[in-house]
């Protein structure tokens, strides 16, 4: 699946969607959507009227067309939902391909394995997976380590390591073990796994309405009831005015007034929002979580991986008094030759700038490499009887057995204050100077955080670094706040603190110790590489395990809500034009003087009513692409967004139907339909 976006006109989605539009005519199903249900009733009533029309000696051309278009209105609304579901299904089918597995090696209590069907596995069963086999269910590695191909779910071809203990123990059903053998404890019953959740969500079959959708449905239903009363009372008002309104015309008026546009597109918008997340390789556990993402106003961002590249790089050498920078560079390079970490490589590369040619390790057969350990906090090399070391200032200080020169102490402090990491280099007992290792802040973040600030979202950087370092990086990255020397419980406390004053918090996490914070956060995005505990605690999983994705998640949530609001506003604003199309047409036969009220100068009463009904139906189809793709997202302040969207969808909603109805009227009169 991995970010695959289906074209809007993909035949494999379009054809089944058309079929589903008819299947969804089932009244029991439609009753969940009050607006479209009333439209269906309108279609049925006009059909009955149509049947009786010839018996009454009435022409059937007009009632036939009205009736047909009311049916089309229902079908178009169904089609919108079916399209969204179809696109979801296409994603789900890709997911499902990963699930065509058959057997698992169930570990028996006596230590032997038994081959069983994967579907029969239950939570806490133990299974053994060998190289080349597919992992039968979501679980935790309890023994062994293996490289696993997770491309089925992430689309990433490079294998990843999964091992027992630590934060890389979680495996996902459907992925393939490439090497070694691991024992897995199953953590999900069949049908309850992460992917099962996801499949049902994108398919829309078991989709629950989100709280905001429920509230909106209540409002739309109330407007529908109000308009039913408006239309029903028109009959007696007409009787008073000696004007007979036919059932067909009243049904047409009703369907035009009730908010069919948003009623028809509401569920499609919701499904499409989840679908967009999947395209970004993020799985949401509920539609509610996507909505919450839009509401989030505090982002907790881990420094490493989200704000910085994760690797520090050497940017300068600060020699000790009496040492030339070339000498320092030379010593630093030698000390780093065996250091394969990105930091070590960056020192070698930096040294080249001072004319120190990169030396080949094979040239030093006598060399003894000293690896970095947590105890010594130093690494280096013994070469030709000389000892080269680099490491934390106090560790190197201990190594040389005397205090650092004051100038070196000063430069070490200076580097730390800039938010960077100082390393001290020694050659034998002589302090050569310091290396400036810098955290590299990812590009473009400052801009991004600036836009978030405009949208009223506060960014908080979380880091284990000390306060000085944290402060400097926070300043460089442009985050609003930071939490330094943070332990997992500090993260949880911070979330609680923010929530207590009304903020909604989003965070990412991967470790088991992140689980409580992930559960507490309003939006908790767990990394797919993380532990099962973390994944269960969060309400979203990022398959790419890219913490920066949190930002996209928030944007998708906002875009979903904006789209829903824009189409609601558009739908309600549409009513003005429909009144001006239909009411004069209904009255003009009794009161010819009312003709000037027909501001659109629509041809005949029949063409006017028909045009409004056709516009009302066609606009649903016309807006399907917008509902599925979402309205254009702009990171601006709320006041500016409101102004723009109100102008486009509010004022547009007032004006566009006037133009549309007029055009349709011209067309249907030109082709002789009315």
């Amino acid at each position: 699946m991995a970010g695959k976006e289906h074209s809007l006109f993909d035949r494999s989605i379009l054809v089944p969607a058309i079929r589903d539009s008819f299947l969804k005519l089932n009244p029991v199903y439609l009753a969940k959507n009050p607006v479209i249900f009333v439209t269906l009733v309108g279609a049925i009533v006009t059909t009955v009227e149509l049947i009786f029309a010839p018996l009454r000696g009435q022409a059937i051309g007009f009632p036939l067309q009205i009736s047909l278009w009311l049916w089309f209105t229902v079908l178009f609304a169904n089609f919108a939902e079916a399209m969204a579901e179809g696109r979801g299904k296409a994603q789900a089918d890709t997911l499902r391909k990963a699930r065509t597995l058959t057997t698992a090696n169930l570990l028996q209590p006596n230590g032997t394995t038994k081959t069983v069907a994967a579907e029969s596995l239950r939570k806490d069963d133990m299974v053994v997976v060998k190289a080349g086999e597919v992992i039968p269910a979501d679980g935790d590695v309890t023994r062994g380590a293996a490289s696993v191909d997770e491309s089925a779910i992430t689309g990433e071809s490079a294998p990843v390591i999964r091992e027992s203990g630590g934060d890389r123990s979680a495996v996902t059903g459907g992925t393939r073990v490439l090497s070694d053998e691991i024992t897995i404890r199953v953590t999900a019953n069949p049908g309850e796994s992460f992917m099962d959740h996801m499949i049902s969500l994108v398919e829309g079959a078991k989709r629950q309405k989100t709280p905001n959708e429920i509230a909106l449905t209540i409002l739309l239903a109330s407007l529908t009831i109000l308009f039913i009363i408006v239309v029903a009372t028109l009959k007696p008002f007409g009787a008073y005015s000696h004007t007979l309104f036919s059932i067909t015309v009243l049904a047409a008026l009703l369907v035009c007034l009730i908010p069919t546009t948003i009623g028809g597109l509401l569920s499609a918008i919701g499904i499409a929002g989840i679908d967009r997340l999947v395209q970004h390789n993020v799985l949401a556990m509920s539609g509610r979580a996507v909505e919450a993402a839009g509401d989030v106003d505090v982002l907790l961002l881990d420094k490493t991986g989200t704000i910085t590249l994760g690797n520090r790089q050497a940017v300068s050498f600060v020699p000790a008094p009496g040492v030339s920078v070339e000498e320092l560079a030379d010593a630093a390079q030698l000390a780093s030759l065996a250091d394969e970490t990105p930091e070590g490589r960056s020192i070698v590369v930096l040294a080249k700038e001072f004319g120190i040619r990169e030396r080949d390790l094979s040239g030093f057969e006598q060399a003894e490499f000293i690896a970095f350990t947590a105890r010594t906090r130093m690494s280096g090399v013994n070469l030709d009887g000389r000892q080269y070391r680099k490491g934390a200032a106090d560790a190197v200080c201990e190594f040389v057995g005397e205090d650092l020169p004051p100038e070196v102490v000063a430069s070490v402090q200076d580097i730390a204050q800039k938010g960077a990491t100082p390393l001290v280099v020694a050659k034998d007992r002589k302090i050569m100077g310091a290396i400036h290792l810098k955290d590299i802040v990812k590009g473009g973040l400052q801009d991004r955080f600036e836009r978030f600030r405009a949208m009223g979202i506060r960014t908080v950087m979380i880091t284990g670094d000390n306060r000085l370092t944290a402060e400097a990086i926070a300043r460089e990255a442009g985050v609003d706040d930071f939490l330094s020397e943070a332990r997992p419980e500090d993260k949880l406390a911070l979330i609680r603190r923010e929530q207590a004053v009304g903020h909604l918090v989003a965070m990412t996490g991967d470790g088991t110790n992140d689980a409580p914070a992930l559960a507490q956060a309003d939006v908790g995005v767990a990394m797919n590489t993380g532990t099962q505990a973390a994944k269960e605690a969060g309400n979203m999983v990022d398959l790419d395990s890219n913490p920066t994705k949190l930002i996209e998640v928030v944007e998708i949530g906002k875009q979903l809500l904006m789209t829903r609001g824009a189409l609601t506003t558009f739908s309600v604003a549409n009513d003005v034009s429909k009144f001006f199309a239909i009411i004069p047409a209904m009255l003009v036969s009794t009161f010819p003087v009312i003709a000037p009220l027909n501001v659109m100068r629509l041809g005949t009463p029949h063409s006017a009513i028909l045009s409004a009904v056709i516009f009302n139906a066609v606009i649903i189809v016309a807006l399907i692409p917008l509902a599925l793709k979402g309205i254009k997202f702009r990171a601006l302040g709320a006041a500016e967004i409101l102004r723009r969207n109100l102008l486009i969808y509010g004022l547009g909603g007032l004006i566009i139907p006037f133009i549309g109805i007029k055009l349709i009227d011209m067309i249907i009169r030109a082709v002789g339909l009315a």
Partner: protein
């Protein structure tokens, strides 16, 4: 549309603006149970006496159900008391004209009317009501129904301003304090002012005057030369003051503020209109203070002002043009359409008064709205269809417009990319349900009753006119009652059993089926935690917000009535302009 009119409109707007902040600040003190006012030395003992009667446990803060329960109990008691008094008035004192009891249905209608701050009058005051009925049964309601409206608005605003609580204040305390510290002193000042202008205040017998030009008129015994006129007396000024200040609108005289004893001078006319708007306007400032966002208060005020000015200009434009049917016969249109207008006031002051009285739920009139040209008459109708939310009935206007604010934010607030929130409070299913109920139920009853009357014999029997104007008359009556306005298009004889009953019920629905959902909304909002306001929050001030509110009022409030209005005033307008047909 003449310069004097523009100047008066400008002066009116400026003076309204000037009184808003002082009144709002004074309301801060009145609506805070611990607030201190300059009247403390005189009225505190009275206030404490009232609390003594209620008991200490009765004056603690209430949740929304307690508040609503108290308001309903108080209203029921007041309505029953009024009903009894009207039925028994012939046995009671202060009845120099020896008026008899009112019929049961008229008593029901009148009791509903005054309890609900409607003051719809299916009777002529000076020919029906004893002084006791006027002063005790009716004027007391003028105070208490107004105080109740302000109290409910206060509860709603507290719900918006407070967090994580169930408590909205105490109904009895609010009612007492508003009556004592706000309505009573303002009414006294106003009554004294009106007396200075010539409004009468006495308990005299009616005076018989000899008219200058005797004429032959019809009496029960046949044609007769009439040379005398009975001139009504009574304690008018005291009732007149609260009639406007409390947006009650029930006149002492049948002719209401068109009568020289109720509204004698241009100055009294100006001040009466101002006092109709004053408290409603002050409440918007108070809202801003309470929610800690004065710009929000002023934005609501601005939205109201724009709706007011637009309505006034349309009505004035319509009335100043004169009736084309008459001008075509050679009648000068220089004075505008003068049918049904006091020559003292003319087209502008009549149009302005009509707009003010229907922007609010006052309903006092200084001209016959029935005689307005169709589009001129459409303005009062439109104002009431949108719920009398422009400054509005005291309190009722504020909670009415806040319902529209909640709906507007719910409809459009999603467009900023967050679930809708009003001043930090998330608007959820329950809140939406409460807000739409407050609009849906009255609209449904209004359309239902009007439709019923249109096709029943009793409904049509009361009409003076047929055709579109007759429809307007029925529609106006129910619209006025549902929105607790009480102004009449006249022309409709409403004192019949079915009209008294349906109109009476309409008033109750329009009042209590709004108050209860409003308090439910208040309770729900109070219980929520507020999301801190940031640049990502829904803006509740500024031009966009003002336009959003106006748009919502127009689309949600008025569009519902577009079809029926098309069959009434709009058709009538086109018939008048484009045909020679009688209408």
């Amino acid at each position: 549309m003449h310069a004097a009119g523009w100047v008066q409109l400008a002066v009116f707007t400026v003076v309204l603006l000037a009184v808003t902040k002082p009144l709002g600040l004074y309301l801060m003190r009145v609506l805070d149970p611990a607030g201190q006012t300059f009247l403390e030395p005189v009225l505190k003992p009275v206030e404490n006496l009232v609390y003594g009667c209620i008991g200490a446990e009765g004056t603690g803060e209430q949740d929304w159900k307690g508040y609503a329960g108290s308001a309903l109990v108080f209203s029921l008691a007041g309505a029953l008391f009024t009903y009894a008094l009207l039925r028994l008035q012939q046995f009671l004192p202060l009845n120099p004209q020896h008026f008899g009891a009112l019929s049961p249905d008229l008593s029901f209608n009148t009791a509903s009317s005054f309890t609900t701050n409607t003051n719809w009058q299916n009777y002529g005051g000076e020919s029906t009501m004893t002084y006791l009925s006027q002063m005790v049964a009716l004027t007391s309601h003028n105070f208490f129904s107004a105080a109740m409206g302000i109290s409910v608005a206060a509860a709603l605003v507290r719900g918006i301003a407070r967090q994580k609580t169930r408590l909205l204040g105490n109904f009895w305390v609010d009612l007492t304090r508003v009556s004592l510290y706000l309505l009573l002193p303002l009414s006294i000042i106003m009554a004294v002012f009106l007396m200075s202008q010539g409004v009468i205040q006495n308990f005299s017998h009616y005076v018989t005057a000899h008219i200058v030009e005797p004429y032959t008129g019809k009496t029960a015994t046949g044609q007769k030369l009439i040379s005398t006129q009975s001139i009504a007396m009574g304690p008018v000024a005291s009732q007149e003051a609260i009639k406007e200040l409390g947006t009650n609108g029930g006149g002492f005289m049948n002719a209401n503020s068109a009568h020289p004893y109720e509204n004698p001078t241009p100055l009294s006319n100006f001040v009466e209109m101002l006092s109709i708007f004053a408290i409603g306007s002050g409440l918007t400032y108070w809202l801003g203070r309470m929610v800690g966002n004065q710009k929000h208060g002023w934005s609501i005020w601005s939205a109201m002002l724009i709706l007011f000015l637009a309505g006034t200009m349309i009505c004035w434009w319509s009335e100043s043009r004169g009736n084309p049917r008459l001008t075509s016969l050679g009648v000068s249109a220089r004075q505008g359409n003068m049918e049904g207008k006091e020559a003292r006031f003319g087209a502008f002051d009549s149009a302005l008064f009509a707009t003010v009285t229907t922007d609010t739920s006052c309903g006092a009139v200084n001209s016959m709205h029935d005689s307005f040209l169709p589009l001129g008459g459409l303005v009062p109708l439109f104002n009431m269809h949108t719920g009398c939310v422009v400054f509005g009935g005291v309190g009722a206007g504020l909670y009415g417009i806040l319902i529209f604010v909640v709906l507007a934010i719910f409809l459009a607030g999603l467009m900023i990319g967050r679930t809708p929130e009003y001043l930090g409070k998330k608007l959820e299913s329950y809140d939406v349900m409460a807000a739409v109920l407050a609009i849906l139920l009255p609209s449904a009853v209004l359309l239902g009753f009007t439709a019923l009357a249109c096709v029943s014999t009793w409904g049509l029997a009361g009409l003076n006119n047929t055709g579109p104007h007759g429809l307007s008359e029925i529609l106006y009556a129910f619209t006025s009652c549902i929105n607790n306005n009480g102004s009449a298009f006249a022309g409709l004889s409403g004192n019949t059993l079915p009209y008294n009953t349906t109109l009476g019920l309409a008033m109750l629905v329009g009042r209590y089926f709004v108050i209860v959902p409003v308090l439910a909304l208040a309770g729900s909002l109070a219980s929520k935690k507020a999301v801190p306001v940031s640049s990502g929050s829904m803006p509740v001030a500024g031009a966009t917000f003002i336009l959003l509110i106006i748009g919502t009022v127009l689309i949600v409030g008025a569009l519902t009535f577009f079809p029926v209005v098309s069959l009434g005033p709009i058709v009538e307008h086109f018939l008048m302009v484009h045909s020679t047909m009688l209408f």
